[in-house]
């Protein structure tokens, strides 16, 4: 034992050990003895047995004094900051033996405490594993006490708790830290979990709530209509409890409180979905109902009203306005009500499911009858400004800011703790961090902490063996949104490794292009590339009909498992400056909006054909997309492209490629020079070309390759005929004829399909109808058999 750091065997230590020995069971026994002996003594005294009564009084008094000592001193042991020993909590001291020489013994003494389980459970490491890796040197032992004391200081905790010491023991050993990292955590997580524990211990201390007593509402009016049509958030909190402690002191809640304290008539909480507008209102409701607000607002109750509830209760058209007026009058007369209108835009709109109550609300807010809190997005508030300047001028706007990582993690930790208790599961710390990290991939429409909280909730049903891990979160995201976030499974890894082979089953040659794209995609899936950019971004350059689109389709089929996982836009339709708006439109039926399509289908190939024809403003947008992996709409809401593969195609320089290939040059040898030529010719800006992962050159197909293309197309025809059990093959001469008819140096292999259709499909159709080909036949077609029409 290091005398400078901890002094075991002190009176405080002995008291703690005695306290543990007595325990709760002993305390109740002492109380029972007190009651029984006291009662018996009184009874005996009444029937005249003075001496027995006096004798029985002694154990009654003794057990009372012991019980009082245990309850008020032994089991509490208030810490003091005189020394580290005096600062140790009751839980620490009561578990420590008289002598502890090193960290190993210290860990063994404390490892049965719930706080130890809290630390190790959330780190997903076991007692046994830790014990084998603990640093049991005297230096580490000394450092353990100092670090534990620092953790207590940082968390403004009077006592050094068991969890702080466990965290400190883990932090002293590099072997333990390695173990922590191997189980999917970061070494810093040890301290973060200790901080989490400190917060939950602090919350436990302050869980005694006071809601104003029996006479709180006697000076307030009745609200029968509001009780029926509204949702009293404050009374729900009083009845069922709530913990919005993390929000009650937030800037947003303070701003609303200050605004009403300064006689604001209405406050609008402004921010995107998930940023915490409703939660801020609930936090305010909790603060008010607990009387922790200013005297003006203390014990006010917040009642939420929704357009849907009101409209569904209005039987006739004229009743709607009357109902709103009655609700507001009732709230006003009651004197203790604050109205909360969530999705406030539904009260200012004439769209289906909404009502236009702007005139009524204008009068109500002008009169200041009742405080009103509105929640809406920034764009809805702007719309309200345009629609009714008078109304918007009366509303005090409070813009909510998205929480930073530390803030979101705190919220998640608090909610995780509640979920663990309610669902009887363990949520590992790596799972909580994964929720934060991956919530973007799960939901692009919401802000944090809303989307992270939602992901946590959605992950609960996927929990296995009562433990929520990072894998649970990844599985949830993959099942709900289809986005691949987990490590590639063996089958998928194998498919990725054999990607070139799979692509070549669908397209002929272009080995260089296929290899470049496959390598880029493998880098991304292995997690080697930048996760804040699209999975891959490519510029496909080459003549028409050489397989650019086919390669894009192959990627969609192989990487996303579905050839239709593709958003395809012809950029020749976006040549005007105003077309940027069309590309970023957010209306419901904007099929030409890239933003809308990517929000619907984030896991996809985005194919932008003929990119060189797009307006320069659109190319500037493309720069942003490739750089940041996202585009932003008018309202400032981002749409992520981080789960998509961006493929742009262009015919620019096609003639040069053709000429060089015809001269016998190798495509790999002139690729760089070709790119320079494109920049010099002004076809593309260098900053755009530099942002693509790869610029892929496609070369024209030679006659031999065109024959193979015919072979692939014939396979497709045979697939169609497979139902009829008919198989078609072509003689070499027939293939040559189709190639000769379908080959156009300007259009590549594109006319080939038409040639095959004309020559083979027409001929086969005629033969089937005439009965020349029957089910089960295998037919070889020669030049003479090919239809010429």
């Amino acid at each position: 034992m290091n005398e400078q750091t901890i002094k075991l065997g002190s009176v405080r230590h002995k008291k703690a050990r005695l306290g543990k020995k007595i325990g709760k069971g002993g305390f109740y026994l002492l109380v029972l003895i007190t009651i029984l002996c006291g009662a018996l003594s009184t009874y005996i005294l009444l029937i005249g047995g003075k001496n027995f009564a006096a004798l029985l009084l002694a154990p009654a008094l003794l057990s009372f004094m012991l019980a009082a000592w245990w309850k008020r001193d032994l089991s509490v042991l208030a810490p003091s900051k005189k020394s580290i020993t005096d600062r140790l909590s009751y839980d620490v001291l009561s578990n420590l033996p008289i002598s502890v020489k090193d960290n190993k013994q210290l860990f063994q003494a404390l490892s049965n405490d719930w706080q130890s389980n809290f630390m190790l459970g959330h780190l997903t490491i076991t007692d046994e594993a830790v014990l084998s890796a603990i640093d049991d040197s005297p230096e580490a032992f000394t450092k353990t006490w100092l670090t534990a004391s620092q953790i207590a200081d940082q968390n403004q905790s009077d006592a050094i708790e068991v969890g702080f010491i466990i965290a400190s023991i883990l932090m002293q050993s590099s072997a333990v830290k390695e173990m922590v990292v191997k189980s999917g955590n970061k070494a810093e997580d040890i301290k973060d979990i200790a901080n989490w524990l400190a917060r939950s211990l602090e919350a436990k201390k302050n869980d005694k709530k006071y809601y104003g007593g029996i006479g709180r509402d006697w000076a307030n009016g009745w609200t029968p209509l509001l009780n029926r049509l509204g949702q009293n958030i404050s009374l729900s909190i009083e009845k069922y409890g709530a913990n919005y402690g993390w929000l009650t002191d937030s800037e947003g809640v303070k701003a609303v409180e200050a605004a009403f304290d300064n006689n604001a008539k209405a406050v609008a909480l402004i921010g995107p979905d998930g940023i915490g507008k409703s939660s801020s209102v609930k936090a305010l409701a909790q603060k008010l109902i607990e009387g922790k607000s200013t005297p003006n607002l203390a014990y006010h109750q917040i009642v939420g009203i929704s357009a849907m509830d009101i409209t569904s209760n209005a039987q006739q058209p004229g009743q709607l306005e009357a109902l709103i007026v009655n609700l507001i009058n009732e709230a006003s007369k009651a004197g203790h009500i604050m109205l909360f209108i969530d999705d406030a835009q539904t009260f200012f709109s004439d769209q289906p499911g909404a009502i236009d109550a702007s005139q009524i609300l204008l009068k109500v807010i002008q009169s200041g009858q009742v405080p009103i809190i509105l929640a809406m997005s920034d764009s809805d508030f702007q719309r309200l400004r345009t629609k009714s300047q008078n109304l918007s001028n009366l509303i005090t706007p409070v813009k909510l800011q998205e929480l930073d990582q530390a803030g979101v993690m705190r919220v998640l930790e608090d909610i995780a703790l509640g979920t663990e208790i309610n669902k009887k599961i363990l949520i590992t710390f790596s799972a909580i961090r994964a929720i934060y990290q991956l919530s973007d991939r799960f939901n692009q429409d919401m802000s944090n902490p809303g989307k992270a909280i939602k992901l946590l909730g959605e992950s609960v049903p996927h929990v296995q063996n009562s433990v929520m891990t990072r894998e649970t979160i990844e599985k949830t995201i993959e099942q709900i949104s289809g986005v691949k976030v987990s490590k590639a499974a063996p089958e998928e890894s194998s498919a990725l490794l054999k990607m070139e082979e799979a692509i070549h089953k669908r397209m002929i040659n272009q080995s260089h292009a296929v290899s470049v794209v496959s390598n880029a995609l493998r880098r991304s899936r292995a997690g080697v590339s930048n996760p804040s950019k699209p999975i891959g971004s490519f510029l496909f350059l080459g003549p028409t009909g050489v397989g650019k689109t086919e390669l894009a389709k192959s990627i969609a089929a192989i990487y996303f498992g579905d050839e239709s996982a593709m958003i395809r836009l012809d950029m020749s339709e976006y040549q005007q400056p105003d077309d940027v708006k069309r590309l970023l439109a957010t209306g419901e039926n904007e099929s030409s909006s890239l933003l809308l399509n990517i929000r619907k289908k984030p896991y996809t190939v985005v194919l932008l054909d003929e990119i060189e024809k797009a307006h320069p403003n659109i190319l500037n947008l493309l720069l942003q997309l490739l750089d940041e992996g996202q585009l932003t709409d008018e309202s400032g809401k981002a749409a992520s492209f981080k789960d998509s593969i961006i493929i742009t195609t262009s015919n620019a320089g096609a003639q040069e490629i053709r000429e060089r290939i015809e001269k016998g040059e190798n495509i790999e040898d002139f690729a760089n020079q070709f790119t320079d030529n494109l920049i010099n010719a002004g076809s593309f800006k260098p900053e755009l070309l530099n942002r693509f992962d790869e610029i892929v050159l496609f070369r024209p197909l030679n006659p031999e390759e065109l024959k193979q293309v015919v072979g692939l197309m014939l396979e497709e025809v045979n697939k169609t005929l497979a139902d009829k059990n008919i198989k078609i093959s072509l003689t070499d001469e027939a293939i040559n004829k189709i190639v000769a008819e379908g080959n156009d140096p300007r259009l590549g292999a594109r006319p080939m399909r038409r040639a095959l259709q004309r020559a083979v499909e027409n001929s086969v159709a005629q033969k089937i109808l005439s009965g020349a080909i029957k089910e089960g036949d295998s037919v070889t077609l020669d030049v003479a058999d090919l239809s010429s029409e």
Binding site: V11, N51, L55, G213, G215, G221, K333, G335
Partner: protein
Amino acid sequence: MLISSFFIWWYGDGWKQVIKSIGNRTVAISDSFSVSTLLRTWFAPWKRIISYSGDSFDDKIKASLDNLFSRAVGFVVRSLVLFAALVTIIFVAVLSLIEIIVWPLLPALVPISIILGIIL
């Protein structure tokens, strides 16, 4: 050692806690009975039931009487609750006072009761 620490606590922090508890208990009772709210709204109309006067003299008199009645109901109910709170606070305070006085005597009562048991 532990026995001496018991006596140190009993006549030190333990006794202080008993004294402090009078204040804590009074605050808790006052909170449960909403004493501060009731005092603030002692003469307020019961559940805000108020009549709004019309233009005529009769209407004004009628509304005033209604409001007076509502305030009277509020006053009576609140007064009863405040009285109950006062009685409870006094009762608990007396008990606490007895506790404060008896507390230091308890350790001495143990040997005294044994001796009394033997000699009586």
